[in-house]
């Protein structure tokens, strides 16, 4: 294998060195990889036959596909880390963009206004959407109503609503017609939270419903057979069993909401200074801060944007780690009988737009 790799590299080095057509790293990579595969196949086929050679070659291809996924992740994380650390200083969390001009170095000023905005908007949208979506998930799974089917269809359909359309919807319903009348209908954090909740409601409803479905029916029946009411069953049996999964689902929903940019363009609008009041005046959020700064022509703004991107990434990674931590299998030692032990369900957040 190493031999084949060496051969391929040398061969291509030779070809490219001689021809020297300067096509960049990609051409070298592709042709080296293909030559490597060919050499590997020929070498193995010579010794073990065609069947084994195919098997081994496919193994190499499969492993390299895994490598590509890892490389993409690593490249993204490292890139943002390196560029973000250049401009990220403790001052980022204490100051806003007051008096910042393009000529000042990117370590001046900060994004505290964006952090505050993100926190407020996320909290508000959580307050708006969590009760509704939890209730809807319970409704879908624990009731016997005829309305379950239409509700499920609508929730499924709406989870495919492009996020930008959510923002546009809020803009067209509230901001455009009513912004002149009252500040609460202008560009502000509340409007951003409304559009974010439109995204969160279907997401959280779906994931929590999946988690509730994984609670074994035997547990419910046992509780009902003991004479508990259905409300009591849900409260004392279903919820405790599904708690870890539900928490994981909600935390992942928050992580999704924190990084959502598109709906904010039409609702929070973005602002360079601190505005801690989410009900009045346009507000900044971390994703917007990144989005707006990266598009500016001056280098310092781009660097500031990357500082914001780094903070955003750390927040998302922290939420992700929190979800993993909460969702870990804690029942293993407590309940050795594996028969009925509900699997700590992994929410399927990741496979849904």
């Amino acid at each position: 294998m190493a031999g084949a790799a060496g051969t391929a590299l040398c061969l291509n080095w030779l070809v490219f060195g001689r021809l020297g057509d300067g096509q960049g790293w990609f051409a070298l990579l592709v042709s080296t990889y293909l030559t490597f595969l060919a050499c590997f196949f020929i070498a193995t086929a010579d010794r073990y036959g065609r069947l084994v050679a195919t098997d081994r070659t496919i193994t190499v291809v499969v492993v390299s596909a895994g490598g590509v996924v890892l490389a993409a992740l690593a490249s993204l994380v490292i890139f943002i880390l390196v560029l973000g650390l250049k401009a990220l200083r403790p001052g980022f969390f204490t100051s806003d963009q007051t008096g910042i001009t393009p000529l000042l170095p990117s370590t001046e000023g900060g994004g505290s206004h964006a952090v505050v905005g993100t926190l407020e908007q996320t909290a508000l949208s959580l307050v708006l959407s969590l009760p509704l979506s939890l209730g809807a998930a319970v409704f879908l799974n624990e009731s016997r109503s005829r309305w379950r089917r239409p509700v499920r269809i609508f929730v499924d359909a709406m989870s495919g609503l492009p996020s930008i359309v959510c923002g546009l919807f809020i803009f067209a319903v509230f901001i455009q017609p009513h912004a002149k009348d009252a500040a609460i209908f202008g560009f502000n954090g509340l409007m951003a939270s409304l559009s974010l909740s439109l995204i969160m409601i279907p997401t959280i409803t779906r994931t929590v419903e999946v988690v509730l479905r994984l609670v074994p029916d035997g547990l419910r029946e046992a509780s009902l057979a003991l004479g508990a009411s259905r409300a009591r069953t849900v409260w004392s049996v279903v919820f405790p069993t599904a708690r870890t999964g539900m928490t994981t689902a909600i935390v992942l929903g928050i992580a999704r909401c924190v990084g959502e940019t598109a709906p904010l363009i039409y609702t929070a609008f973005g602002y360079d200074l601190m505005n801690a009041n989410p009900f009045n005046g346009s507000q900044e959020a971390l994703p917007l801060f990144v989005f707006r700064n990266v598009q500016k022509p001056d280098q310092t703004a781009i660097e500031r944007g990357f500082a914001g991107a780094l903070v955003l990434m750390v927040i998302v990674l922290a939420l992700f780690a929190l979800a993993r931590y909460l969702g870990r299998d804690r029942t293993r030692r407590a309940a050795p009988s594996r028969r009925w032990r509900p699997r700590a369900p992994r929410p399927t957040q990741e496979v849904r737009p």
Binding site: L76, F171, S229, A309, V351, P353
Partner: protein, 328 residues
């Protein structure tokens, strides 16, 4: 029952099932019903509003004209708006993304289920989930600043060597940044975790008995995968692909950063230029009511396409042998 046993005749009425909910149950039923119902109402309001507010611009333009016109000009009177230029870009970018991501994603899923050790598998599943949790903005920024420049020689190379394929040709001396190809690559990386996790889910459910049978008959690992795992997971692969396509169609921020967002129909995907529906909406904020109504109509068209793709995905997955228990 009636004919053979005339003995137990007296009460022929079926036993009455009494479901007298306790008071707490009535409250519980009411609360859950109303939250479910209000979600339904809320979401249908969104849908209805989309329909009615796009009605303004659609009525003025005409549905067919709107769907087939390329240009989007609101500065002239009467405004000439159409969604074709945006739709073509949207579909091209999404298709490039899926074409690039499907092979890699499926192979990576195979690596996770059938090649890695149990320990490595858990780590890899976590990493793929992590890749899915990263906001699309960060992918967009990464593509915008890093990949965009790195990809220019790649585009040049492709057009030099494969320029005989019509859509891979480029005019000489054209700018190759900000092309639909680059946007497609970035969106492809973004949808990679979706394909990988759906494919992994179905591959991991491939029946172990059949796999062992294949191996016991002397098949190599690849032979086992080709004859058992891949046929079993076919529905999952197709469904995951369509799910990823739906996601790629609706992707906003990355394409808003990467593409110039000027509507056009071009067959040269490697050249500067291109627009997608969601990206176009994102870069045209704050217009007059008519523009907003037009954007709404564009969003509605996109929503319908995405909806169709997602629904087909779930039908395909749930109909297939492997996808019964898979949650999309």
């Amino acid at each position: 029952m009636d004919a053979e046993t005339p003995v137990a005749s007296p009460p022929r009425r079926p036993r009455v099932v009494v479901d007298e909910p306790a008071r707490v149950d009535r409250v519980f039923d009411a609360v859950t019903f109303w939250s479910g119902f209000s979600v339904l109402v809320l979401l249908s309001i969104v849908g209805l509003f989309l329909l009615t507010s796009s009605g303004d611009s659609l009525g003025q333009t005409g549905l067919w004209t709107f769907l087939t016109r390329v240009e989007w000009r609101t500065d002239v009177q009467p405004a000439r708006i159409g969604v074709l230029g945006l739709l073509v870009g949207t579909v091209v970018v999404a298709v490039i993304a899926v074409v690039l991501a499907v092979p890699v994603g499926v192979l990576a899923a195979l690596f996770i289920t059938d090649y890695s050790s149990a320990r490595l598998r858990r780590v890899l599943i976590g990493l793929v989930d992590l890749l899915a949790a990263i906001p699309s903005l960060l992918f967009g920024v990464w593509g915008f600043v890093l990949l965009s420049n790195q990809m220019v020689p790649v585009s040049r190379w492709i057009s030099d060597h494969f320029g005989w394929i019509p859509f891979l040709a480029t005019e000489p001396n054209r700018d190759l940044t900000g092309s639909m190809f680059i946007a497609g690559v970035v969106v492809g990386i973004m949808v990679l975790p979706i394909i990988t996790s759906v494919a992994r889910e179905v591959f991991s459910q491939a029946p172990p008995g059949e796999k062992e049978a294949a191996l016991a008959l002397g098949s190599t690992r690849w032979g086992m995968i080709r004859t058992v795992v891949l046929p079993y997971g076919k529905g999952g692969i197709v469904g995951g692909t369509m799910l990823a396509l739906g996601r790629a169609l609706g992707e906003t921020i990355a394409v808003a950063l990467l593409l110039p967002q000027v509507p056009l129909v071009s067959k040269n995907i490697l050249e500067y230029g291109g627009a997608t529906v969601s990206g176009f909406i994102a870069t045209h904020s704050g217009g007059d009511p008519f523009t907003v109504s037009g954007l709404m109509a564009a969003g509605l068209v996109l929503f319908i396409i995405t909806l169709g793709t997602n629904m087909m995905a779930s039908v395909v997955v749930s109909r297939s042998r492997s996808g019964v228990g898979v949650e999309l």
